[in-house]
Every structure is written in structure tokens, then in C-alpha cells.
């Protein structure tokens, strides 16, 4: 009887341990910094995490397929400087945004085609591609930020509110919701999970595996491009190095997500919880005035911790 109870407790912790951890974090920060638990801070926190959420959503598509995309951080940076440059060059807002998204898709296609047709692992291809993308970035900016007067519509993407909800939060949630429906409710999502689980069995089942792997890599670049646009709007400028830091955090969120709810495989809802955790950490640490260099140490530790957690769960 007693043993049974203990077993259930363990099951509870492996399933919801991360949520409990999030709760403890929130309690801790609220005690240390009273302002932490306010509506204003909650909204600003959501605004902060919206870009990470967009990028992580894209990466989750890839990781469901058991592929990596290490070029999302640089794509985020490139799309930020691109969209600002295009606007300054006189392109209309719609045209600039669509063009940048299109370029994201092109890079995703390129990644996907090389991975599937030349058969190089996505880890290597996207690692190399990230440097190539950075090269394009510096080609445009020569390493200098792009400042200027940008139209109000564009600025609203990152700074605006709709019914007192920040627009970037709405964008991130729309991407997330569509993603969840796509991966969990449609046959295409099922195919992606099947490929990630056992690509050979998937091919024998008549699934066009290459097509979906390309799709995954395209979606991650598309989301990264969107993230870059929102980021540029929020910053009001195109910062060449603004995207680089996102990559590590994206991985942390996806792995946190796999450890949550006992799913053990990447899933978008879990990823979003992971995003919130990273957001709470960053926001809280800033509030209690922990020096910025600790943030890096903590972020790295969280990634390792999240992966360790999935391993421990896999054993039990």
C-alpha cells in the first residue's frame, strides 16, 4: 500500500515536476521582489517571451522529426536587419514582411533539400547554414545596427496592444495554437511524429518522409523569420547580433517541454511551458538584480538539467 503510494508520487513528479518547479520559481521571485507578481510585470514578461516562443515553436517542429535546426538564431537576426533595411529602402510594410518570411522559407528549403537529398545530418547542415546566414547579415549591415524612422504598423508588431494584450503575444499564441492543432490533430502532424519515432518504419508505411523533413526545416526557419521581424519591431531597429542568443534558450525550452506531462517527445504545449519558465527565470533574475553573467550560467544549467530530466524519465 505504502509502496503503491510512493510510486504514484514518483509518477506525479515525473509528470508535473517541472510545473511544480515553475510554481516554486514564481513563489521565490514574488517573495524576493514584490513587484514580480503584478499584472504589469506579467504582461511585460509575456511580451519578453513572445519572440522566444516563436522561435521555439519552429524548433519544436524540427525536433518532432528528430532533426535539428541550429540556424534559427541567425535567421532571427538576419530577418530583423532585412525587414528594417527593406522598410528604409521604401518597401511597403506588407511587402517587406512577406519578403522576409519568404527568405526564411527559402533558407529552410535549402536546409531541407541538403539534408534529404545530399543526406547530410541536419545538425551539420544547419550549423554551417547559420554561419552563412550570419555572413549575409554582415553583408547587409557591415556589423552596424540599422536605425531609422519606421512606419507605425510595423512598430505595432512588437510594441502595440490589442485589447490591452501585447500584439507580439497574440502573434506568438496564434503560431503556437495553429502549431498544436497541426501537430496533434492532423494526419500531417502524425506523420511528423511517426518519422521522428522511426523513419524507416515511416518510409515503409508509404509516408513521403523527405517531404515532411523539408517541411519541418522550412517551418522552423519561417518561425525564426517571424520572430526576427517582431524582435526588430520591438527594438525599433535592426540589430545584427540580436538573434544569436536565442538558439541555446530554444533548445532548453524544447527539452523542458519533452520532460513535461510525461510526454517524452517534443510537443508544442510543453515547449510553451518551457518558454514561460525561461521567461520567469530571466525576468525574475533581472528583478532581484542578479548580475547578468549569472543568467548565462543558469540558462546553460537549465538546458543540461532539462535533458537530464528526460533521461531520468526514460529510465523509469
Amino acid at each position: 500500500m505504502n509502496k503503491n503510494k510512493r510510486f504514484r508520487m514518483e509518477g506525479f513528479f515525473s509528470k508535473y515536476g517541472i510545473l511544480v518547479g515553475l510554481l516554486l520559481l514564481i513563489i521565490f521571485f514574488s517573495l524576493k521582489a514584490p513587484r514580480f507578481l503584478s499584472v504589469t510585470n506579467a504582461i511585460s514578461l509575456l511580451r519578453q517571451i513572445s519572440i522566444l516562443s516563436l522561435l521555439s515553436t519552429g524548433l519544436t517542429f524540427c525536433m518532432i522529426l528528430n532533426e535539428f535546426d541550429l540556424s534559427i538564431g541567425e535567421m532571427c537576426g538576419l530577418s530583423g536587419v532585412l525587414v528594417t533595411s527593406l522598410l528604409l529602402a521604401g518597401y511597403s510594410q506588407i511587402a517587406a514582411v512577406l519578403l522576409v518570411l519568404f527568405i526564411g522559407v527559402i533558407f529552410g528549403l535549402l536546409n531541407g533539400l541538403i539534408v534529404t537529398k545530399v543526406r547530410i545530418s541536419s545538425f551539420i547542415v544547419t550549423l554551417a547554414m547559420s554561419t552563412i546566414i550570419l555572413g549575409f547579415n554582415y553583408f547587409i549591415t557591415r556589423g552596424k545596427p540599422i536605425y531609422g524612422q519606421f512606419p507605425a504598423g510595423f512598430i505595432a508588431l512588437g510594441r502595440g496592444d490589442l485589447l490591452s494584450i501585447p500584439v507580439p503575444v497574440i502573434i506568438a499564441l496564434v503560431f503556437l495554437t495553429l502549431g498544436i492543432i497541426f501537430t496533434k490533430k492532423t494526419k500531417y502532424g502524425r506523420y511528423m511524429y511517426a518519422i521522428g519515432g522511426n523513419i524507416i518504419a515511416a518510409r515503409y508505411s508509404g509516408i513521403a518522409t523527405d517531404r515532411y523533413r523539408i517541411l519541418g526545416l522550412v517551418l522552423s526557419q519561417f518561425c525564426a523569420a517571424m520572430g526576427g521581424i517582431v524582435l526588430a519591431s520591438r527594438l525599433g531597429s535592426g540589430q545584427p547580433t540580436a538573434g544569436s542568443g536565442y538558439l541555446m534558450n530554444c533548445f532548453a525550452t524544447v527539452f523542458l517541454g519533452t520532460a513535461i506531462f510525461g510526454e517524452r517527445i517534443p510537443n508544442l504545449l510543453g515547449t510553451f511551458v518551457g518558454v514561460v519558465i525561461m521567461g520567469v527565470l530571466n525576468n525574475g533574475l533581472t528583478m532581484i538584480a542578479v548580475p547578468y553573467y549569472y543568467e548565462y550560467i543558469i540558462q546553460g544549467a537549465v538546458l543540461i538539467g532539462a535533458v537530464a530530466l528526460t533521461r531520468i524519465q526514460a529510465k523509469s
Binding site: 490533430k185 492532423t186 494526419k187 518504419a201 508505411s205 509516408i207 513521403a208
Partner: protein
């Protein structure tokens, strides 16, 4: 019928007897919710090959793992040469002289045989420097002792499965065991290679006692001195191999009597549904075949003869260099599995765990994977339709699951195979290729698979049945093609079936064949 031999009975009543190098008494093993072994007694003499048989899940693996120290028994005692021992760890088992040759290979592919055999047992000088020469000498000695011969300098990854197995055997022999357990040693070997293994075992048994686990009754009767049958974790009986026949053993294994293992139905043969003309692909050359509606056509050949390659070529997994595939009366380019599945040609692949199933997905998801359109409502998946689809297959093929949501990696081999078959039969196919579909499946499940085949041909499906089991091929097929070195070397009609003749065409070497010209009987 299930009584023990008189001899065993007398012995069982006495105390530990030194006549046996191994004696296990009342071995019981419970896992959460399952009693895998239930008071099993077992004795092994020096110089004998003692076969352990039973359906999947009967407890053979659990028993051998207890002996090998992978986990301890819940209850029971083990005696070695009359002395009671505790085996809590694999290293302890090795120390006690129990070696196990596992079904899976545990070799470092880019190491050569000597390096693999001495892995973690390296001979060194000055405690750190490897003495490759001494190690090689020792291996050669061992090989001569048991009459083995193969290349020692190649990376084992480049050796064939039977050579790799010899490396495994040598690795165990190096530890000078008294008892060697072979877990399904022939599952990856051709008939020829298996024969060589048996020769080796017969020499080995002069020095040791051998426990031999296998699904293939033919082999067991060929090689063993005694047979112990397990069923549902209980020992059913031990017999001298000479005193029983296959049918008796099968009946002990399955509890219910299988009168006719092969339910061959007489079905009118219709027009040709699948034809290959002059197919060339990789090592495949000049392949011509046809399959008619309602026909089961066997494809026999040694591993490496090109059977699987042919199946994969027709199914669109390999690019055809030349030739033509005619399916349902029209010429078709097998570009990809997707195209072929849409046309109505299905393949049940050779390896269910890596090719047939998504092990981490559940039964329902696996069953619908090849036909997701069927379980969709518009753009979205319908859980309800998926459940219904799965339930149908589970009922139809008698797949034993706790629920549709059960993860397939938790099913037994036979039930996993039925999921793979069920996955393909959710929709009506015109032709079906079954590649070793009964491999590693227990007798009861085998019969169920044969029954499914019989029903399919009744419905007009044409089946290509690839198998290494001549008994089941001659039992189920209307015709048999024999493949050898990448081409079809003979064709037999049912009236002409002769296991010897078929085997002969499969193993004959090619030069010999060209002299006489490929025979069509």
C-alpha cells in the same frame, strides 16, 4: 504424455546431484504484475545439448537471463556441480563458468575479431601495452581446438552474420566456461551457416554443457540431446529428443493440439496480378516472375540471395536499373512505397521492430499509420475513427492487447507482428509481399498468420511469401521461386515440391549452375 523420463524423476527426488553441472530448482521470477517463471526445475549434464523451447513469453529468455546473472530469481535455488550458488551479476555468472551467446551481436564493428574477443580481457605487457601477437595466438589456438576458421584481421563489421557469431562464441570460449547458453543462435543465419554452427556445437559439447534456445523445431531435433518445454512460465516436461516427435513438442508448447499447422485452402488461381520482367537492380539481374490472383508464391533463398532486395525493388524502395513491373495489367514504375501503396501493393517488411513499427507509438496509431486518410474527418484526425479502425484489426487478427492505447514495444513478438500485418490489411490490397513474416513468432501466432494468408487469397489477393522456413513454404505456397546470387534459379509447382531439391537450387554455387543452365522444373 507429459511425464518426465524415469531417469529424471528419480534424480529430482534426490539431493543435489553432482551428475549435473547445472541444476535449477523451483526457479520463480515475478515482475510487477507478471509471473514470468513458476517453479521451474532444470538440469544440464556435461556433454549434452539441452534445448529450451516454448512460445514467445513462455519464459525461456527470463530463465537464461537468470542463469547469466542479468537478474536474480525471486525464488529457487541454483546448483553448479552440486554446489549451491547465488548469481547476482553477469560477471559473477562468468566467474562461475556460465557463458551466454546473445541473440543480438555485441561487437565493436570497426575492431577486428581478436580485438573484440579480448575486449576487456586484453593481454598486456607492463600492465598497459597491448600484446596483439599473444592475443592472436590464443585465438588461433581456441579456433583450432574447436575447428573454426575465418579471417581474424578484418573489422568484424565486414564479416557476415555467421562469422560475427563465431567471434561471439570465441569471446565466450575465452572465459573457459562449463556451460554455454545460446539464445536463438540461428535467427540471423542461413541454413548452411546454421549447419556449420551445429557442427561446432557438437564439438563444443565434448567440453561443456550447452543450453540451446530456438524457435525452430527442425533445428532442435537436429541438434539437441534433450528438450525441455516451457509454457506460460511453467515447465511442461523434459524429454530425450529421440523419444519424442515434433508434433508432441508442438502440442506441449501450445497446449491446444495443432492438427494441421498449414491451413492451405484450395483457391481458384486467377489472372496475373503482379509480374516482373527482366528486372535489374544492384546485384539483382534477369529476374522474371509472376503472381496470380489467389496465389501464394514462395520466394526461397539463402540470406544474401537477393530476396529482400527484390521485394524492396518492387515496393519502390530501390531504384530499378532496368526491367518492367506489371501490376494489375498495366506497366508501373515503382518510384516510392507511397505510389505502390496507393496502387494496392503492400509490403510486410522483414524486420518488424525497425521497419514495421513505431515502437513508441500505441497500437491504434501504428495500425492507422499507413492509411491515415481513412481515419480523418476532413483536415483533422478523428480519434473515434482511429479507435474503430484499430478495434476492427484487433478483433480480426486476434491481437492480444490490454487496450488500443498500449505502446507496441510492450507487446510480444507475435502480437507485434500481427499489428504490422493489421496495419497493411486495413485496406484491401491487390498483392502483398510478406518478407519473413513469421520470423521470431511463436507457433500459435504463426498459425494465425497462415490463416490470415488463407483468407486473403480467398479474397483474390496475390501473395509473395518470402521465407527461410522450407516447411512453411511447402506448406502454404502454390509455387515457389528459388533465388540464388541475385537471380531466380528455379521454379517449383506445388506437385513438385521437394525440400531437398529446393534447398539444392538455393545453395548451389553459381558457376555450377551456369554450366547446366538455370533449370525450370
Amino acid at each position: 504424455m507429459f511425464s518426465l523420463d524415469e531417469n529424471e524423476k528419480r534424480m529430482g527426488e534426490k539431493m543435489a546431484n553432482t551428475k549435473y553441472i547445472l541444476e535449477a530448482r523451483g526457479i520463480t521470477k515475478t515482475f510487477p504484475g507478471v509471473k514470468a517463471l513458476d517453479h521451474v526445475d532444470f538440469q544440464l549434464k556435461k556433454g549434452e545439448i539441452h534445448a529450451l523451447v516454448g512460445e514467445n513469453g513462455a519464459g525461456k529468455s527470463t530463465f537464461s537471463k537468470i542463469l547469466a546473472g542479468i537478474f536474480p530469481p525471486t525464488e529457487g535455488e541454483i546448483f553448479l556441480n552440486g554446489k549451491k550458488v547465488q548469481i547476482n551479476h553477469p560477471l559473477q555468472a562468468i566467474g562461475l563458468g556460465i557463458g551466454m551467446v546473445y541473440q543480438e551481436r555485441n561487437l565493436v564493428p570497426f575492431f577486428n575479431a581478436v580485438e573484440n574477443i579480448f575486449l576487456n580481457q586484453e593481454v598486456t605487457s607492463h600492465a598497459i601495452f597491448l600484446r596483439q601477437d599473444l592475443m592472436k595466438k590464443k585465438v588461433i589456438e581456441l579456433m583450432q581446438e574447436i575447428g573454426m576458421d575465418f579471417e581474424l584481421d578484418k573489422p568484424v563489421g565486414d564479416l557476415g552474420p555467421s562469422k560475427q557469431q563465431m567471434v561471439e562464441i570465441l569471446r565466450v570460449m575465452l572465459l573457459q566456461p562449463e556451460i554455454i547458453i545460446f539464445d536463438e543462435p540461428t535467427s540471423s543465419l542461413t541454413k548452411n551457416e546454421a549447419l556449420m554452427l551445429f557442427k561446432l556445437l557438437n564439438r563444443l559439447k565434448e567440453k561443456v554443457g550447452i543450453i540451446f534456445i530456438s524457435h525452430r523445431l527442425d533445428e532442435i531435433f537436429q541438434i539437441s540431446d534433450r528438450i525441455t518445454v516451457l509454457r506460460d512460465g511453467k515447465k511442461i516436461g523434459t524429454h530425450h529428443t529421440d523419444h519424442v516427435d515434433q508434433k508432441t513438442v508442438i502440442n506441449m508448447m501450445v497446449a491446444r493440439e495443432i492438427k494441421d499447422l498449414y491451413p492451405k485452402a484450395s483457391v481458384p488461381i486467377g489472372e496475373a496480378v503482379l509480374e516482373g520482367k527482366n528486372i535489374h537492380c544492384g546485384k539483382l539481374h534477369n529476374i522474371n516472375f509472376r503472381v496470380h490472383k489467389g496465389e501464394i508464391v514462395g520466394l526461397y533463398g539463402m540470406v544474401g540471395s537477393g530476396r529482400t532486395e527484390l521485394a524492396e525493388t518492387i515496393f519502390g524502395l530501390r531504384k530499378m536499373k532496368a526491367g518492367e513491373v506489371i501490376f494489375k495489367g498495366k506497366s508501373i514504375q515503382p518510384k516510392s512505397p507511397r505510389v505502390m501503396i496507393e496502387e494496392g501493393l503492400y509490403l510486410i517488411p522483414e524486420d518488424r521492430r525497425t521497419q514495421g513499427l513505431n515502437l513508441e507509438m500505441n497500437v491504434g496509431e501504428n495500425l492507422s499509420l499507413a492509411h491515415l486518410d481513412r481515419v480523418c474527418s476532413g483536415f483533422f484526425l478523428s480519434k473515434e475513427k482511429e479507435r474503430k479502425n484499430a478495434q476492427e484489426a484487433v478483433d480480426k487478427f486476434d491481437i492480444r492487447v490490454t487496450s488500443i492505447g498500449q505502446i507496441v514495444s510492450n507487446l510480444s513478438g507475435g502480437n507485434q507482428q500481427k499489428v504490422v500485418i493489421g496495419k497493411w490489411l486495413a485496406e484491401r490490397s491487390a498483392a502483398l509481399i510478406m518478407d519473413e513474416a513469421t520470423n521470431g513468432v511463436d507457433v500459435g501466432a504463426k498459425r494465425e498468420i497462415y490463416q490470415i494468408m488463407a483468407e486473403l487469397v480467398k479474397a483474390g489477393v496475390g501473395i509473395i511469401f518470402i521465407s527461410s522456413d522450407l516447411l512453411e513454404l511447402t506448406g502454404m505456397c502454390d509455387r515457389i521461386y528459388v533465388m540464388n546470387e541475385g537471380t531466380i534459379t528455379a521454379e517449383f509447382a506445388r506437385e513438385q515440391f521437394s525440400q531437398q531439391a529446393i534447398l539444392q537450387y538455393a545453395i548451389k554455387d553459381k558457376g555450377d549452375m551456369q554450366e547446366r543452365g538455370a533449370a525450370t522444373i
